[in-house]
Amino acid sequence: MVLSLRVMAPNRIVWNSEVGEIILSTNSGQIGILPNHAPLLTALDMGVSKIRSGGQWSAMASMGGFAMIDNNQVTILVNEAEVSDEIDPIEAQKDYEVAQMELAKAEGRKRLIQEEEKEPTNWIDPLSKALTFVNHLPRLQE
């Protein structure tokens, strides 16, 4: 008996084949799924899941989602996922550092936008008063 596993991200199918065993990481710990598991619906944390297929274990990193298990059909819906053999460690390290810099920049800009959101109330009142005044001026004859 095997489990048929489908892992889906919003823009592509990450995994679609039959496997022997899955280990998922949820926010209440890790769950092992073997064939003939009871129906289960669980939320997945951002983390690494392990999949055993044909005697080989592979790892998959996922950015949170849901897993539904019913009748040996496992469906995992994730925001984004990557299987370990598709990941290049050097590139991943570079991406990580770039992402950290962008995060710092974004935090700074977020604070700036929040400050700006408090500003508009200062000029919106005089502006609306000026506009209503203009609307009440007599219209020129054409």
Binding site: M8, A9, L41, T42, D45, G65, F66, L77
Partner: protein, 331 residues
Amino acid sequence: MASSSVRRGVSRLSHLLQNTSPLASSAHSCSGRCPGLSSGELAPFGSRMASSQIVRNRMKSVKSIQKITKAMKMVAASKLRGVQVKAENSRGFWQPFVALLGDHPDIESKKNVILTISSDRGLCGGINSTSVKFSKAMFTLSASEEPAKYVILGEKGKVQLQRDSKKNIQMVVTDIQKMPINFTQISMIADEILKNVEFDTIKIIYNKFGSVVSFLPSVATIPSPEVIARESEAGGKLEQLESYEIEGGDSKAEVLQNLSEFQFAAMLFNASLENACSEQGARMSAMDSSTRNASEMLEKLTLKYNRSRQASITTELIEIISGAAALEAAS
């Protein structure tokens, strides 16, 4: 049809020329009567009727319109190809939700929210009007103690719904198409909606992309976590949910809430992509038919132009010959 109006114009003008003497005033009066001349446009001096100059100007503008609409059609076709792939890939994302929770448009709910997805730009055929028509129909159908509320995505839907349902609009999101649609952006929008709008069910109204010529208005129903919990008890519509062991959170309610939010984001993602595909497809066919109309118009104008050119040549010949004959008769 064009030729008979041209001939009528000629007879009207010849009547004018007999009655008024100076050429200047006839030019003025013929600008009011001459077909093809708009008010304020004076026929060039010495011309006789629906002048070839004016028809030529019209032909130039119709030709440039034809080129523009042809280019717009090709742009829409290339954009369609890109979005279509994404839309098809996103279909697999919400199907497990429907397999788990089913699709129950008739679920009982008091607070209904209608989410209309429309485009930001126009010239895309009738899809926005169809969406708005369906939203209004849903609005009247879902009448319960509280009137339903609108959440609108897209400029065109907002403009149309503001006309008569302004007080029922709760939230408007525009300019979504400034960058290509991706899941992160949609989940932010979904987040905002969930924060600011109370609902029992959300009905997403969008145009599902059938093919380049067929767009089906569709509605996707998303119940809130409380409704899911209520219906998953015995006798409700989501009874099969009970057979699932629910893990992964501190409580079943928390998992159901996350599930409902995720389902909403997934459905909204697919609905926006399908609507974007339909928009490009509708724009393609609208631009195609306007290109065809422009070439038909161009043909008619060419005939008109040739006739007017020939008529003016003939009148000049007649004048010359009658002048020469008069001289001969006098001598």
